[in-house]
Symmetry: C2
Subunit: 268 residues, 2 copies
Amino acid sequence: MIVDSAGAGALIEDYLRGLRVSDLPELEEAIRYSLLSGGKRIRPRLCLAAAVSAGGDPEPALPVAGAIEMVQAFSLVHDDLPALDDDDTRRGQPTSHVRYGEGVAVLVGDALLNGSHRLVIREVRPPELALAVAAELADGVAGMIDGQYLDVTAVSDPTVEQLARLHRLKTGALIGASVVSGALVGGATDLAPYRAFSLELGLLFQIVDDILDDGTEDEPSYVNLLGLERARELAVASHGRALELLAHVPGDTRELAGLTDQIANRRS
Amino acid sequence: MIVDSAGAGALIEDYLRGLRVSDLPELEEAIRYSLLSGGKRIRPRLCLAAAVSAGGDPEPALPVAGAIEMVQAFSLVHDDLPALDDDDTRRGQPTSHVRYGEGVAVLVGDALLNGSHRLVIREVRPPELALAVAAELADGVAGMIDGQYLDVTAVSDPTVEQLARLHRLKTGALIGASVVSGALVGGATDLAPYRAFSLELGLLFQIVDDILDDGTEDEPSYVNLLGLERARELAVASHGRALELLAHVPGDTRELAGLTDQIANRRS
């Protein structure tokens, strides 16, 4: 059970449903197919929760949370392509390229990535804040693309350090951007505690992901490298460290703590 | 012969060579393969020329010009993919996906698109100007993606109006963003004459493209729809209108006029 005192989940869904990315109805439909296909919305919720901890309201952080989720949707659509991870289904539904064809899926991802930047540029004010948020977002996306490149070209037998680097980029960069950009919009001036917390949170997210994928994936993972038992110990330790680091984050951190627990305890 | 009193071409090449997009040397090499593969750099030169006409120097417009060329490179890498235009060579060299594989080519395009936004966000100041430029860039990219979608899903037998709409988006949107964002950095406050001029310039660019492609492409074009002779008449008329509209653009427009003539008279 996750703390959701602010009704953040409903706020985010409503906001995402109200977004328009393309002027073409057919392309817009394909974009909405991927953007509105459910999911736990963990990253935008982290964004809103960080804004609240920094002393802000959730609502002004919604464009940033929306941009973060658009980036997440972009990365899934492109990563699912046959040339990358080649996944036919996601959350029980055909992936974008299966439903609309590969060419359209490439364009859907491109439109979501561009649309995420456009949303921050248009909706966040004052201008200095918009640029600070946009820079966090762009850095997060750059890290995520680097991570996906490492994944695509990975050696078959990485060390734990190589695996950690891959995940710090592929998963951690956007989780970090979610927390830090939310903190920025909430009015935070000292971003260091948010960065430290979100770095650990990204690691926790990935270890749990590997545990949940156990047996269904033959790619390098903490489970494959270290065994299931050791991976579970790592997850418990990482969960503890994340909560310790959260103690250095100011303000009302109940929502961030709830999301940390949800990431640690999720079943899918 | 093109006016290049400011040495704009060399400025742009040097600037592009100095850019770093990814922290991973191997991905960076694949990005540079596409970004530094030559080309006439017409869009970044339009950007610098518009800045000069608005009363600015070329140098402060370089990050914007660089971002524009990164967008152009992104669009070529993704459009060349087998699922889209399926082109194996560009300017006599293997395309990105032939050289590095489809998966890497998807990521190269993603990195260039994200990198273009990142460059404007980081390098253009003051913040209000950065946001105005970033908004022009994001709108231009959105139009370009819409245009590529129309191209991919095009009916086999479009009307001239449908063809014009497709090209206004696919080609015209980024040419418009090149001129208008350059004007912004140069200090222009009235963007209307730049918009009117660049709209015609985009049309001219596309008609000439179709004439140059005559016989080598079986897709819808002004030549296929109207015949070569009529397409040539349209190009002459559009060239004239572009120069008329340029007369309403303030300042020193010699470079813009030279680029307009180059677009009208190019042989490749």
